[in-house]
């Protein structure tokens, strides 16, 4: 088992940076020493009061130092900030301005996507400046440092949770997800939220009933924006310059605006129910942390 603990970080490096076709492993195994430390950290529940941003900054600093111990300069996390982070908005502010972001961010989403690709290419270019042996050493050490950071700070709050496909920690996550989904406290807050939404004129059993049809309806406009916008990009325009108003025709725009207004109205009702104390996310987070701690500690 000792040898596994040493080899595991190197073995999973490829999976971190080339997904899909590197994630087949599915065998149960004993946790490595670092994984054991992560499990113990999870068992402590989320008792620390640090804001996610502070934890993330501390994690970043930790990885920076961890890499420096091996004489490596940390290139930063390979992930891009979320659209919401990029806009520097709280969830509540985002909801006021963009609703859920289904029909209201069609042009923003395309620019955002391009930006994340540009950032990814810049990251890869920086990695490519390293000689191959050094690059492998960098990636192995980065994985090791990421795992070590999870032992100190818990699993990442937002974005990719870097775990090997055969990590025993996945089993704890599975069990916590299932237990949370079936927890009566979640059913209770969802029922209260549903009642609250009904009082405001909307009949939704849960948030998927509220959001998924809007998302599906928005898809036709995303497709139209993408196809019609591509013609303009091919003739020299850039996606950054192309608002939906510059790409969609009058009939499409009118239909989109109707959908956007409906989405904003529903989002306002939803926010009002959260303000009334029917906050499903908050209850879910609390219940999930509790179950995760329970399973990790068992």
């Amino acid at each position: 088992m000792k040898a596994l603990a040493v080899l595991a970080p190197i073995g999973v490096v490829a999976m971190l940076f080339v997904g899909g076709c590197s994630g087949d492993a599915d065998a149960d195994r004993e946790p490595t020493s670092t994984e054991q430390a992560i499990i113990e950290r999870l068992a402590e529940s989320s008792s620390d009061d640090a804001a996610p941003g502070e934890t993330e900054a501390a994690r970043h600093e930790f990885i920076d130092q961890c890499m420096a111990e091996e004489g490596l300069e940390y290139l930063g996390p390979p992930e891009s900030p979320s659209m919401l982070e990029r806009l520097d908005l709280t969830e509540e502010d985002f909801r006021t301005e963009y609703g859920f972001g289904h029909s209201t961010t069609i042009d923003l989403a395309r620019s955002y996507e391009d930006l994340t690709i540009t950032e990814m290419k810049a990251y890869q270019a920086a990695l490519k400046t390293l000689p191959e042996a050094e690059r492998k050493r960098y990636q192995a050490r980065e994985w090791e440092c990421l795992e070590l950071s999870s032992a100190d700070f818990g699993l990442p709050e937002n974005g990719t949770v870097n775990l090997p496909a055969d990590s025993p920690i996945n089993g704890y996550l599975d069990r916590a997800l299932e237990a949370t989904t079936n927890d009566p406290r979640l059913a209770e807050v969802t029922a209260h939220w549903s009642d609250c939404m009904r009082d405001r004129g909307y009949d939704f059993a849960d948030r998927d009933e509220m959001g998924l049809p809007l998302q599906e309806e928005a898809q036709q406009f995303m497709t139209a924006y993408s196809i019609q916008g591509q013609r303009l990009v091919d003739s020299g325009r850039t996606w950054q310059d192309l608002s939906v108003a510059k790409v969609l025709d009058a009939e499409q725009l009118a239909a989109l605006e109707e959908l956007q207004q409906r989405e904003l109205d529903i989002a306002a009702a939803h926010q009002s129910c959260i303000d009334q104390g029917h906050d499903i996310d908050a209850v879910y987070a609390e219940v999930y942390d509790e179950h995760l701690a329970e399973f990790a500690g068992s």
């Binding site: 994340t116 996550l173 998927d208």
Partner: protein, 96 residues
């Protein structure tokens, strides 16, 4: 792989065993374990191709398929959910 927001998992993706055989078809599975009004999605970019290939709205694994567009069994792909959750890094899917 798991993708988190607010410390809990909002999207999951895995390759179907045996899909990494260089036949230019990627078979994946996607799940959306969190009832938040957003589907989990897998977007692929390959040459000029840019589209959502995978879509999931429940915690059950939902199979999807991506056909390589450029004949090199390599494409960028990204998993994402709501605008608040960070999308995964654009990964290079090699060998499908």
């Amino acid at each position: 792989m798991n993708y988190a927001y607010n410390g809990h998992i909002v999207a999951r993706e895995r390759a179907v065993s045996g899909t990494c055989d260089g036949d230019e078809i990627y078979n994946g599975q996607l799940a959306d374990p969190y009832n938040d009004g957003y589907a989990a999605r897998a977007r692929f970019r390959d040459g000029s191709y840019n589209a959502i290939a995978g879509y999931a709205t429940t915690s059950a694994w939902n199979s999807y398929r991506f056909y390589d567009q450029t004949g090199n069994s390599t494409a960028y792909f990204q998993i994402y959910s709501s605008p608040a959750s960070r999308p995964s890094y654009w990964e290079i899917n090699r060998g499908h």
